[in-house]
Symmetry: C2
Subunit: 206 residues, 2 copies
Amino acid sequence: MSRWKPDARGRLEKAALELYNRQGFDATTVAEIATRAGVTERTFYRHFADKREVLFPADNPLPDILAGATAAAPLPLPPLEVITRALTEAAPVLEERADLAPQRQAVIAANPELQERELAKLSALASTLAQALRDRGLETTTAALAAEIGIAAFKVAYERWVNDPDRHPLAQRIRETQDTTSHLIASPEHLAATDSVNPTDQEGAA
Amino acid sequence: MSRWKPDARGRLEKAALELYNRQGFDATTVAEIATRAGVTERTFYRHFADKREVLFPADNPLPDILAGATAAAPLPLPPLEVITRALTEAAPVLEERADLAPQRQAVIAANPELQERELAKLSALASTLAQALRDRGLETTTAALAAEIGIAAFKVAYERWVNDPDRHPLAQRIRETQDTTSHLIASPEHLAATDSVNPTDQEGAA
């Protein structure tokens, strides 16, 4: 049991996600996870501070990747394109764990406290991006807005990717979502045109 | 102490926010809040289930307002314009509590657990909006994307409003943020143009 086996961390992660899904996050103990992974509790704590860290790794490389990619992006790009490229650069890190991603999502979806933690992590990524955009000279509100919108779109792209049985590349989903975002915002001309052709529009001019 | 006084709820809210800010949310007791408001603990519990409900009222009317306004919006409007109008319709409810809003934001900003709860509430509003957009016939991913982006922009607009000493109307901030969002999303032509005029763009064609 205490003999070294390859990839203890990977097996602990897999065992934890299986147990969290089967019996619930709250009901699962570290002892059960360790037993299922064939290691000691001590080995668990060598890799994770607690049960929750299996879902939210302390050494998450995403903030650094996003900040670095945002800083390195060509200057004239529009802010949302900068963010799309930064997220695309971070995609391979998430794809490394593609096989565990659906289970992880299911565990989080089943537990409001974990959902709140996931939202906090996404919000922290938005703050990282906003800071990186300000460092590029973007005004504070514009930077915050671009970062929040970029992460909002990423959230939708990520969920599509996780729930896609065909597993299209995450980068493709991010690009598609960004393209859809452009279409959500009509130009003022378009807006005026559609307003005026709607005979049931109660806000139309008399 | 137990005699009826007008607006016990309002005084409890004010007392709670003052104490949360001065000594921290966790360190404040219901007894202290009641004493400060000049009512009994029993009166506190007649209005709020617990300390946290002062910050996150159970009878929040926003979801119903947003869902109703989204359902009633003229059909040809682009999704983000529908959301902007719905949020604008909800603005007066938030402006009713304008005097307490900065204190509430400060309390939440100081406490990670309350921040996570606030994010969860915003995320629930996004789900409400996404459902209302699907009911209008919008495809699932597009509805989710519009809702997430709409709430992301609202978050920025709300923060600007709270931190604005001149207190411009919230509806104005929502409209401004929506306009900025349109500018953040450049058309593909614009993107191509800025890419090609950048001599330092390392991704440029050879």
